[in-house]
């Protein structure tokens, strides 16, 4: 097992590096120059207002304010160097956990990710957990009552889950449960008047529990309901469909028939014989679903004003904030790889016949 984990970690390392290089190249080859946005938003007007009209003009300089500003900014952000040199510097810095500085926020990308990642993780973890629990239960119900109305309803709902874009569901949830029923807040992680819990993990629910801050816990919980369900719904659909198919497949096996023939209660047959043997495809799906939900959270976060990494990525991509986009891609690749590695490891615990070494 140890050798397997080391081998997989090394493979994960290679994937992360390759993903980083790919993302770095793609963002830099995309048409557009982020310095132009920076120039427009701030410096150029000032350079022009004074420099060109008086000092520059009178000294006979031909360089214009905007040009000077662009040159200054490119130099400041290292964008004046050849692409391969920029890439090499970036890769070297990554090993020091230095992802560079965001052009947009002017903070270090690592600190930005550290600030926004917990919010996204909280949403995604609850989404995956909910998808797993509800999905497996739905699949079990569906299998037990196969061919009956409840089975058909479960299948239709799970199909809806797979087919519905998270952001559409997010807007519908807001319309019904916020605008019309007023049951849940419009968005954010916690009410404006309530101080966030002291940061331990960055996950408000966990931190408020650990610090015994019940007011924060209640507010965080209520704020999590709609966004987490919006991203969870798709996951429920996926897990239900895979789990149902897997359970039905296992249910046909001889050892399940033998179990029943021995006179074991149906629940025991279902739990010990069927579910346990059907778990591997479900775990694999959960690993993939984690990545899917993280991706889905990008737009969901926007709808629910959720201060997570999704919104940071969108904003960075729009402004071609190279280092922020690449840094986020790196972190997401790593997390995705790690979750799937954990899923692989868990196979061995679920099915002792699996031996990796």
């Amino acid at each position: 097992m140890t050798r397997f984990v080391i081998r997989r970690l090394f493979a994960l390392f290679l994937v992360v590096v390759a993903g980083t290089v790919l993302m770095f190249v793609i963002t830099h080859l995309a048409p557009g120059d982020p310095t132009l946005l920076l120039v427009e938003s701030s410096q150029a007007k000032k350079y022009d207002m004074t420099a060109v009209r008086s000092a520059g003009a009178q000294s006979g300089q031909v360089v214009t304010g905007g040009t000077q500003a662009i040159q200054d900014i490119r130099q400041r952000w290292g964008l004046d160097k050849p692409l391969h040199v920029q890439l090499w510097i970036y890769l070297k810095n990554i090993f020091r956990f230095d992802f560079g500085t965001s052009i947009l926020t002017q903070r270090s990308v690592a600190s930005d990710i550290g600030r926004y990642l917990p919010a996204t993780l909280e949403l995604t973890l609850i989404g995956v957990f909910g998808a797993a629990v509800i999905g497996i239960i739905s699949a079990l119900v569906s299998v037990v009552y196969k061919g009956r109305v409840i089975d058909h309803v479960t299948r239709v709902v799970s199909l809806l889950g797979v087919a519905s874009p998270a952001f559409v569901l997010a807007l519908l949830l807001l319309l019904v449960f916020y605008l019309n029923l007023r049951w849940f807040p419009s968005g954010g992680r916690i009410a404006a008047g309530i101080a966030p819990p002291r940061t331990i993990t960055g996950l408000y629910l966990v931190d408020s529990l650990l610090t015994g801050n019940w007011v924060a816990f209640q507010s965080s919980f209520v704020h999590l309901v709609l966004p987490s369900f919006a991203i969870m719904f798709g996951g429920i659909g996926r897990v239900t469909r895979i789990a149902r198919a897997s359970l039905l497949n296992v249910a046909k096996q001889d050892f399940v028939t033998v179990g029943r023939a021995k006179g074991l209660p149906e629940l025991v047959v279902l739990r010990r014989y069927t579910l346990r043997n059907a778990l591997i495809p479900i775990i694999a799906t959960l690993g993939v679903t984690f990545g899917y939900l993280m991706g889905g959270s990008i737009l969901t976060e926007t709808v629910f004003s959720w201060p997570g990494m999704g919104r940071y990525i969108v904003q960075s991509a729009i402004t071609l904030d190279y280092k922020a986009v690449t840094g986020c891609a790196l972190v997401i690749t790593f997390i995705y790889g790690l979750v799937n590695l954990l899923a692989d490891i868990s196979y061995a615990y679920v099915d002792p016949r699996i031996v990796y070494d």
């Binding site: 995309a30 132009l36 427009e40 000032k46 304010g65 965001s102 404006a192």
Partner: protein
């Protein structure tokens, strides 16, 4: 204690508690929905930053000068008065007495000089003033600041209206300075101490910024700053327009920016809401030619395109009458703009005739680049222009691009026709006039101009006019020069001005007194929440 006394005591206590609860509940809170994710410099005005940052600065900080929306003049804000030497090289500012920072320390000339030093030495401001003019400072007494420039600087008061010249508490900066961060840049990421009408209470990056009314505020000047009429202001980042609209409907937001036209129309029907439009004296939307290239180097082609466009369809059908028609190429309200200036109209016959005279009786094929990131209605406007130009034989390919990609095309001179909106800083006409510069004196295209004028037939004249106007202190003379430039631009059909931009706001119907202008990005201190 008798029962009666006990009951009286209980009644009195209940009354006191009720009164205290009433007082606590009476706190008036205004909640504002903003679109932008905060950049890191949201509280440090010396950095410049994005639109949201510029909106924060005048709430927290004040500058030496400010545009007065009542007198329409640039007046002293922190300065009670100011005067310039005849050659505009020496400026003397008389600082108001009795102004305090949020930390309780006093404002004086030295505090303002310290702030200029932060901009210069810290190299953190986009402060051209200090980068290019190399000023020196003198403080003859506690409340007088003299700034001396090696060159004339006639537009200094306008320059100083810019929100990035806000004055911070030197005490705060010194208290938070470290060896590696001598100007307390890190501290100013989350805290801020100025003299403005609001104090920062809590900053949650990417989520919200909460202010409370500054109890020790000096009172401001009518038309510039005033003491807020409510207790607390919460600026919430709500990136999704539909969510902002829902929150306005429930009353969770009192006012919100960036609501698109279709949602505005729906919300306008809600009796609890109203929609207001604020024309901007520094912003316009236009169709630009690359007149360094054929066929747009041909005056008749530019004229033909100008006369082919259906301005009524754009202003009335697409923009629903909420944007202002242009008179000339300068936005109204800008110094030198003429309210009676040239207004373009559609004349299809004339346009066809001009195309034939230009040597293109059968038209030609070209493209139009635009970005809806810049203006939401550009896709519809582009379609109107495409249909209009097809009537004079021009086959127009529409290129919907990310804004950075559109800028890239223009920077590399790969563009042909562009739809563009421009926001011209303080609204001083010198920024608008930079567009008139001829490419021969401008080797690298500066892409933030209002338009480009590669076909400029008389660059020497326009450059002279620009330089003279910039160095002239007399506003009447300046206005005349810029007006002359505007006429030259319009004569050469250098650009097709489409409309002056109005900024829409949707607000609850009990909100009064709010004005949005480009100087302050929203006079939230003047706002009143009734009922």
């Amino acid at each position: 204690m008798t029962m009666r006394k006990l009951l009286t005591l209980v009644a009195v206590l209940a009354a006191v508690v009720s009164f205290a609860a009433f007082c606590a509940a009476a706190e008036v809170v205004v909640t504002y929905g903003r679109t932008a994710v905060e950049p890191g410099d949201a509280l440090d005005c010396h950095f410049g930053g994005g639109a949201a940052s510029y909106q924060n600065y005048p709430l927290i900080y004040e500058q030496l000068c400010e545009y007065n929306i009542l007198t329409h003049q640039i007046e002293g804000l922190l300065a009670e008065s100011f005067e310039a030497s005849e050659d505009s090289r020496v400026w003397t500012f008389h600082i108001r007495k009795g102004i305090k920072f949020h930390d309780g320390t006093d404002l004086n000339a030295e505090a303002i000089r310290f702030n200029f030093e932060r901009m210069i030495t810290g190299v953190i401001n986009d402060a051209a003033l200090v980068n290019y003019q190399n000023p020196t400072f003198e403080i003859p007494d506690e409340y007088t600041l003299i700034i001396k420039f090696p060159e004339p600087f006639a537009t200094l008061p306008t320059e100083l209206t810019y929100n990035t010249y806000g004055v911070m508490s030197p005490t705060f900066i010194k208290a938070n300075a470290t060896a590696s961060d001598p100007w307390a840049v890190q501290a100013l990421r989350t805290r801020a101490v100025g003299t403005g009408p609001f104090e920062v209470v809590e900053y949650r990056p990417n989520e919200s910024l909460t202010f409370k009314k500054f109890a020790g505020y000096w009172g401001g000047v009518p038309g510039m700053r005033s003491s807020p009429k409510y207790d607390k202001l919460i600026m919430r980042v709500i990136p999704d327009a539909t969510t902002r609209a829902f929150m306005l409907e429930t009353g969770e937001l009192d006012l919100a920016e960036g609501i698109p036209a279709d949602l505005r129309e729906k919300l306008a029907k809600n009796p609890n809401l109203k929609v207001e439009y604020y024309p901007q004296a520094n912003a316009l939307s236009c169709l630009m030619f690359n007149s360094s290239r054929a066929p747009f180097d041909n005056l008749k082609v530019r004229q033909a395109i100008t006369y082919a466009i259906d301005y009524t369809a754009i202003l009335q059908d697409i923009e629903r009458g909420h944007q202002q028609p242009m008179h000339g190429s300068m936005p109204q309200g800008m110094l030198g703009a003429d309210p009676e200036g040239v207004s373009r109209h559609r004349d299809l016959d004339l346009a066809k005739k001009l195309m034939a005279e230009a040597g293109y009786p059968n038209g030609f094929k070209t493209s139009l680049a635009f970005s809806t990131q810049r203006w939401a209605g550009f896709d519809a406007i582009a379609e109107v222009i495409q249909a209009n130009l097809s009537e004079i034989g021009i086959d127009l390919e529409l290129k919907a691009l990310a804004f950075v990609a559109q800028k890239d095309l223009r920077t590399n001179n790969d563009h042909t026709l562009d739809l563009y909106t421009v926001s011209l800083g303080t609204g001083d006409p010198s920024a608008w006039a930079d567009s008139c510069r001829h490419p021969s004196t401008d080797p690298v295209f500066d892409p933030y101009y209002a338009f480009t004028w590669e076909s400029n037939p008389n660059p020497e004249l326009t450059t002279d006019l620009q330089d003279q106007a910039f160095l002239t202190a007399d506003t009447v003379e300046r206005a005349a020069m810029y007006h002359q430039l505007d006429l030259l631009v319009m004569e050469d059909f250098a650009v097709v001005p489409l409309f002056q931009i109005s900024t829409p706001y949707v607000m609850r119907s009990n909100i009064y007194g709010y004005v949005y202008d480009h100087w302050t990005r929203g006079r939230l201190w003047d706002l009143e929440k009734r009922g």
